[in-house]
Symmetry: C2
Subunit: 412 residues, 2 copies
């Protein structure tokens, strides 16, 4: 069964000018594909009457469903309603029900609409108003020849809610869709994108009904698999699990930090962090997980030498002899934070995030890690690359992945 | 003088499927506009021969310059070279110089090309190869009728370098461009988007030669101004500075954390952090700034009550009487970290990030802040909204902005 085609048209000067990178389009593509559509393409145009009319025409020639986002607000530069009316050959007419909804919305916020807000209740004659429960501007639907046009507000929070609550259920009803696509994302860390590609494209070759894509979600690599054929998809996933072995750390919404949290909770263990070069990023990631207060006892960001001594008990002699960026200090930091906080796991980082502070012996990107466990203290050294922000992110991933492997009993 | 038109065409299944949101397009739009082009639009199509040919034709009808990103890699799903050759009515021919460059690139990485890599050295006959100094796949240039097509690799790091190092200088030479646009971004925090819009659109009304846009960079609002007329732009900026007063915290690349760092460095003061609900995010933001080790002494993330007592000297009685989420504890945390680390400024947060842990008296989103200074200890209370991640981000911005205001001597 062929999949019906959808086209995504995004309207806004801020998008065409490059002030903002669009995120509505990829969301719409994912949601529409999930229910069985194929995406013919996206187009982005500015708030310009002629450009919008031309784009409405071109997209209608290419798809049965056109999702139009943006340009429905109350200001002068919101051109979509007028351009659509001209393209459909209709007048703009005022819709009393839409205006009531808009007035209600303002009343709930204890504010008053201004005269320009009335524009948001005007639609091309014959269009069906679609109420917006998450903002002022309603959407609308218009069918022209074989194409159904759905017009949505462009504010991402509203676009997303509108799409999922209004448009997707309508499309499911109005189209006889093929069996839904099954999606799976596998997340890999610690091997190159080239090797990931060679492995996954290699093993998917025997399953042409499974579509494979890889993307670099720095510093992780994510593998997107999809198919109508659930059995084939499961076979590819299980072979991938075996081929990637311990490099495959999670699937779908799982993150390194959520996995670490789950593994700690399973053991009833607690974690304490002693960060230097990662500057609090590991603590931030750990505490992004709801419920992390159950297993995260404390973190310290010891940016100065005195703080390493006072908060972690790192001996001044050790700092003097080996330097703050050393395996010895990384180990002492992890051991110190574990001991002081009376937890099972202490994890530490110390390194040179740059751009300054490097030397020939200790270049920018050099990071030592410490892991204090009930079985003893381990240390590890990595030379990472990139700017300051990338070195911090990379180091946080190395640390979390190392802890994940330890908790899973993987022998490196 | 009219601005020449450019169109941006992005090619990739991962984009059309919505697996990845494009970021190359907005970068290209900004860079091209900076040198005097106007952007006719963007289009995104998949790795599909017919779709690419159709899009090359449609974009050529709409612009004098077409920037094409993606589909130049070595694998089966890289279709751009072949589709371009068919659209231009040329054969694909092997370019020995391009192949030498590719071989050199592999040699530098101490790796060997595979046979498929040779595809990256094939271009439509008559195209000009443009070397890629940041990856394997070279770009190319082809002129068809009045339109110049520039083909670039789609990996964002390579796309960006290629655009800036190769394409922009060529366009500057080949086009007689109008006076360059001057861009300015003003960053505002602490007032609603509606009020920001009313103020900035109001004061820009007298300057039609200045283009204004606003965008929500949660929880900040950014105002984009641009004009060819430097004097008019400066007038709008200086009126905005006066109207937004202390809500306008920075311009262009400045961030709350970079400003706080600059202000601390100016005074020769040091900062220590005591975070609970922000979980290390403030420390992470502070340490994103190069050179922050000069003024950031330490941070602690005290997620447990014992850690608040042991690391910050918060009395157990205080925790018992008022609870960890209270003005009293926020003040004691800021005072404790200031005293222990012997710095001029201690900053603290304690709150309920959710989704669980709220109560009618202390709901999710309730956050107390403490600021210990040479003049004494201050506290502050906010009720923030959103999910866990947004509450953390919002609270980190409130804390940094509060510190920024204190350091600038702004009386709230």
């Amino acid at each position: 069964m062929t999949r019906p085609k959808a086209f995504i048209l995004l309207i806004g000067n801020e998008l065409v000018r490059g002030s903002v990178a669009d995120i509505n389009g990829s969301l719409a593509a994912r949601e529409l594909r999930r229910i069985g559509f194929q995406i013919a393409g996206f187009e982005i145009v500015g708030d310009d009457d002629q450009a919008i009319e031309r784009a409405l025409r071109a997209s209608g020639e290419r798809a049965e469903v056109v999702i139009v986002g943006g340009g429905l607000g109350p200001t002068d530069d919101d051109r979509t309603r007028g351009a659509a009316a001209r393209f459909f050959g209709r007048e703009l007419v005022f819709n009393a029900e839409a205006w009531e909804n808009i007035e209600d919305w303002f009343q709930n916020l204890k504010r008053k609409p201004v005269p320009d807000d009335r524009r948001q209740a005007e639609f091309p004659a014959g269009a069906e108003m679609i109420p917006n429960r998450h903002g002022t501007a309603p959407g609308f639907f218009f069918r022209q020849a074989q194409t159904r046009y759905y017009f949505l507000q462009g504010v991402p929070r509203e676009f997303s809610a509108f799409l999922q609550e209004e448009i997707i259920p309508r499309l499911r009803k109005e189209f006889s869709l093929p069996s839904p696509q099954i999606f799976r994302t596998l997340k890999v860390f610690g091997i190159s994108e080239g090797r990931v590609g060679a492995i996954i494209f290699g093993l998917a070759r025997a399953f042409p009904q499974v579509t494979v894509g890889t993307r670099f979600y720095f510093p992780e690599i994510w593998i997107d698999l999809e198919s109508e054929d659930g059995e084939a998809l499961e076979t590819v996933v299980s072979r991938a699990r075996s081929d990637f072995a311990s490099h495959l750390f999670g699937e779908n919404d799982e993150t390194l930090e959520s996995l670490v949290g789950m593994l700690l909770a399973e053991k009833g263990w607690k974690l304490a962090l002693a960060e230097s070069c990662t500057g609090g990023l590991i603590a931030h990631r750990i505490t992004e997980v709801p419920g992390s207060s159950n297993y995260f006892e404390r973190g310290v960001v010891t940016y100065s030498n005195p703080s390493k001594t006072e908060l972690l008990g790192v001996a001044p002699d050790l700092l003097k002899k080996f330097g703050a960026v050393s395996a010895e200090v990384a180990g002492a930091m992890a051991e110190g934070v574990k001991k002081n906080s009376k937890v099972e796991i202490g994890l530490s980082t110390t390194g040179i995030a740059g751009p300054t502070g490097g030397s020939p012996e200790k270049p920018v990107g050099l990071v030592y890690f410490g892991l204090a466990t009930p079985e003893g203290v381990f240390t590890r050294k990595e030379l990472l690359f990139g700017g300051r922000d990338r070195i911090k992110i990379f180091a946080s991933a190395v640390a979390l992945d190392w802890l994940r492997r330890y908790l899973q009993g993987i022998d490196d």
